[in-house]
Symmetry: C2
């Protein structure tokens, strides 16, 4: 499953331009699937070439023509097929946790700054997930899947936030103590 499939999926919610699709990605999939313009535009071009979406240009003054994409019947079938057959992978790649893993190699101020940065990034993300689950940014009443995904995000990010908040001081203290130990021995 790649950006192409996600584009097909977004287009089930109505015809959209590449630009709009990008924003829909950010609203709806922000916490579990990222995509940049550099992957979306080529994906749409390829889908168009394969006849899975159709495209009509809308002229605009002093701007590139807007290209509105629609899901074709073949595109819908391809999407359903993909959804029926792709295995449910779930990958996390966290440089944050790598940094935490090697906490004993870092000064406490750096640890504090890293954790604070994560908290500052996750807090608004939870807020946005909540907004999205309430139906913002999408015409229709939020369907069950949307609510499930949003609920998952809220639950998991909530747990992450709680965990880092509750263990920040403990980690910093423990690292400080471990660093102090050999010095104390040497000073004996």
């Amino acid at each position: 499953m790649d950006v192409k499939t996600l584009c097909l999926g977004v287009l089930t919610e109505g015809d959209q331009t590449g630009y709009e699709i990008k924003h829909r990605f950010e609203e709806a999939f922000n916490h579990f699937f990222g995509a940049s313009f550099g992957s979306i535009y080529p994906a749409l071009a390829e889908l168009s070439r394969q006849g899975l979406v159709s495209c009509q240009s809308v002229e605009q003054t002093k701007r590139p023509d807007k290209k509105v994409y629609s899901l074709t019947e073949r595109g819908r079938r391809a999407l359903l097929d993909e959804l029926m057959t792709t295995p449910p992978r779930h990958k996390v790649r966290s440089e944050f946790l790598v940094l935490m893993y090697f906490a004993h190699l870092l000064p406490p101020e750096r640890l504090a700054a890293i954790i604070d940065e994560m908290i500052a990034r996750w807090e608004p993300l939870v807020a946005e997930i909540e907004r999205c689950a309430a139906g913002a940014g999408c015409d229709m009443t939020p369907n069950p899947g949307m609510r499930f995904a949003a609920g998952y995000g809220r639950a998991v990010l909530g747990a992450a936030l709680t965990y880092v908040r509750e263990h920040k001081a403990e980690l910093i203290r423990a690292v400080g103590d471990a660093a102090a130990e050999p010095v104390a021995l040497a000073g004996d």
Copy 2:
């Protein structure tokens, strides 16, 4: 931050071969950083070329020579520098949640199978994280960072497990109801 950095990090725990490093990755970083042989061996070769690790071959009968890598002083400095400067990214890419998002396009049996598969995959993962946090697979007493990362994994995976278990039936019912509605109207 890439596999190279992680290799340097693992080597702070003691000299190891590429093969052993791979297994250490699976034990320690399983839930937040994946790496295959195809990325580890070239990474070690590159680190060796850069003088960040040293390597001594150990002859073996009827097997390729074992190559034991050690962190050099320059390697340690490079690692510390990397840990001090890399921003704490944290990315999730979940085809599972994409599938859930489009639940209304899938039959209930498929939804149930997907959720059950995730539960079956996460349950042993939590168990392994717990084992690792207790100090298994690593000579030293687990240091604070290891425990923090493991605790994070336990908290977050625990929340994920609880969430999917508690909302599985609800999702499947809601999707079934939504699918039944138009039929009921048509039948009126």
